[in-house]
Structures are given as C-alpha cells and as structure tokens.
C-alpha cells in the first residue's frame, strides 16, 4: 500500500472528519490529499441513496419524475446535508415548480396534516394531535 505523507495531510482528526463531511454532503471543498474523483463519486452515490430513501416516503413525487427522480433530487438537495428522507423529499416538493397533480396532492396532504417550518422535524397539526388523543381515548 502506498503511504502518502504531506504537510497538507496533517491536522487534528476532528477537523479533518468535519471537513470531509462538509465536502461530501454540504458543498464544501475537497480536503487536501484526497482523490477528488473518488470523493465526487461518493458524494453522488450518497445523493442517489438519499433520493431512493426519499422516494419511499414520497412515492407520487418520485414516480412523477420516473428515471429522472435521482437527478431532480440532486438538483435541489446537492450541497444540503441530509435531514432524513421525509424532510429531504418535502424540501424537493416545495422547491420544484409545476408539480404534476399526483405529486401536488401528496404534498398538499402532508402540508394539511403536519406543520413543517423547513428547519425542524415536522409536527402534527393541532387537529391531528386532538384526533390522536380522541382515538387513544384520552
């Protein structure tokens, strides 16, 4: 195995791990010494995996783009760290213009049932919480 020592490879592990995560999911620059093509392949693979997971949460949204879903997802989520499949898909649904009817209905259903501020986990709207309490008999 080749061992590469270089001044640019130094630095505490914590900072280097943070820089690597930034490069892979948050649009940061490739840290020194790494193979840029390998990092880019990883970055794109992570986006495809997130797209697949978001499609499971947003089946109509994903289906309305067919084979183009991974690239539509990447267009809107590249450079934004993963926030979970539900929110990742939600952010895409809100960002795209001209949603097809099925996807629009899927988004409208979620918006009606949950309060999502785009920054934190969605919370059930008040009427859903009350309904849940009634169903649980409290």
């Amino acid at each position: 195995m080749s061992v590469h020592w270089g001044p640019d490879a130094a630095g505490p592990l914590a900072q280097r791990q943070a820089a690597l995560v930034d490069a892979l999911v948050a649009g940061g620059p490739a840290p020194p010494g790494f193979d840029a093509a390998d990092l880019d392949a990883t970055r794109r693979a992570l986006l495809r995996k997130r797209a697949r997971e978001a499609a499971a949460q947003w089946p109509l949204l994903a289906a309305s783009y067919g084979d183009r879903w991974p690239s539509v997802f990447a267009e809107h989520r590249a450079g934004h760290g993963p926030v979970g499949a539900l929110r990742d898909g939600w952010d895409v649904a809100r960002a795209v213009t001209g949603l097809p009817p099925g996807a629009a209905a899927e988004l409208a259903g979620r918006e009606a049932a949950w309060r999502y501020d785009g920054r934190r986990s969605p919370r059930p709207r008040r009427w859903r919480r009350l309904l849940g309490r009634v169903r649980r008999g409290r």
Binding site: M1, G6, Q17, D22, A41, R52
Partner: protein, 272 residues
C-alpha cells in the same frame, strides 16, 4: 440465545412476510436505529417466538467519530440486545457524523494510530454497557484517506486485539473495496483476522460509472458469491451468513432462491 448459524436475512418491514416464510431461516438481523425495544414489530416478535436468533445491527453509532459518543445511542443498542435476547450486537468501523453534521452514511476512517485510539475508546465505552459481545464490520468505501499508516488487515486486527471485539466480515464490502482499487479480493481476505469472525454479510451491488457500488438493492453478483465460497474454503467450519437487502425488493420466490443459493455456497457448492 444461540449464536448466529446457517443462512439468515436482514429483517426489513418491506419483506416481513417473505422473511417469515423462509424455510430453515438460520437467523435474522434488525437495524438497531429502526427498532423499538418496547414495541418490536409483529414480524420480529414472531421470529423470536419461533426461537430464531435476531441480532441488532447498529448503523449510526459513529464509533470512529471524534464527536463524543452519544450515550443514548449506546443505551439503545444495549436495550435492543436485551429485548431480543440477542447473543451479540454489531456495528461498523466507520464514522457517520462530525462537527455536529450528519453524513447519513458510513464513512471510512484514516487507518492511523490516532483513529485507532478513537475507535478503541468508543468501542470500550460501548462494550461496557453491553451484556453481550460486540462484532465490528469493516465498511465499503469509494475513497481512502491520504495518510493511511496501516493496511485494512493490519488496522482491523489491531482494533480487534485491543478491544476483544469480534469480526463481522462483509464479503461484498471486501469485493467492492478490492475491485475499486485494482486488488485481488481473495488476497485481501487473507490479510483479515478470519479466526475472529462472528458472522458474515453478503449483499448485492451494481457497477456505475466504472465503480462497483455496494447498494444492497440488487441481487448478489456471482463474483461476491465466489468470494464467499473462497472464504468458506479458508474456514474450519461453515460461517453464519446473512443477506442484506435494503431496497429494490424482489418477489418472494427470487429472495428465497437467493437464500437457497447462499446455503449451497456455504455448504461448499461451487459458484457457476
């Protein structure tokens, strides 16, 4: 509960029915972060009632991360093992978050003394809370750090020696890492501490833009089956082998056939 044996499959809600119908299911695995110890899914509870061993498999602990280990995640992993009566739990030689940012995926570590110290401390902290052994899985990665001091075999051996942890060997990961670096997968096998194997993972993957991606969404390719056969040849007894499938779920018959193929390979059948 009995150690993993035979051929098993990763339990996922999407294939709960398929898993429960597997004839001669050796064991199963649940993703710890998706499992609620207080309220296990019906399918998992049924497996336990039938006496099937179920192993919690953690994916988010970030044992190689320099961010402090999240005590709640360690406690959860121990609670999963207790609820399932599991004989062991497993996690990864990887980090998943840094500087408070989550990558949402298992990322490789530099194979350095510094990373070994971080891993050993986090593994010891985790083992202290577990009542059962911990097995550690080397991951598949598309890149290496620029300043590796050890080979993967040396790094994994040193970690297991320091911590007493066992090895969860994923032959699909070995295949992926080797072919993406132009190495011979069987030669890599020979550098790993095979005598420490607790059980074995296999999974499918796909070629994409000139690289092999370990996606868990395809059938297990012949090359990975062949490597599993090469592993079996190197061991004194048949290892416990678990198929991981995380998406692109096939019809029941195809998944059952894939498990039957794995049983054949473990029993010494040649891969066509």
């Amino acid at each position: 509960m009995a150690d993993p044996a035979g051929v098993g499959v990763g339990w996922r809600p999407e294939i709960a029915g398929v898993v429960s119908d597997v004839e001669g299911l050796g064991f199963a695995e649940v993703v710890a972060e998706s499992f609620a110890p207080a309220g296990p899914p019906r399918g998992v509870a049924d497996l336990r009632e039938r006496g099937v061993t179920v192993v919690p498999h953690g994916v988010r602990l970030s044992l190689g991360g320099t961010d402090p280990l999240d005590p709640a995640r360690v406690t959860h992993l121990a609670a999963c093992a207790a609820a399932l009566g599991a004989p062991l739990v497993s996690e990864h030689i990887a980090f998943v978050r840094a500087g408070g940012r989550d990558a949402g995926h298992l990322l490789p570590l530099p194979r350095s003394r510094e990373a070994l110290d971080v891993l050993a401390a986090n593994v010891a902290r985790t083992q202290a809370e577990l009542d059962v052994p911990l097995a550690l899985e080397p991951i598949a990665a598309l890149f290496d750090w620029p300043d590796d001091e050890y080979t993967e075999g040396e790094f994994v051996t040193a970690l297991l020696d320091r911590t007493g942890a066992r090895l969860l060997l994923d032959v699909a990961n070995v295949h992926a890492n080797a072919v993406n670096r132009g190495r011979d997968p069987e030669a890599v096998l020979d550098t790993l501490p095979l005598d420490r194997i607790a059980y074995v993972h296999v999974a499918g993957g796909v070629e994409h833009d000139g690289r092999y991606h370990d996606t868990h969404t395809e059938a297990v390719p012949d090359a990975v089956l062949g490597l599993l056969g090469a592993l079996v040849d190197r061991l004194p007894a048949a290892p416990a082998v678990l198929l991981e499938r995380d998406g692109g779920f096939p019809p029941a018959a195809r998944l059952h056939a894939e498990l039957a193929t794995l049983r054949g390979v473990v029993a010494g059948a040649r891969v066509p």
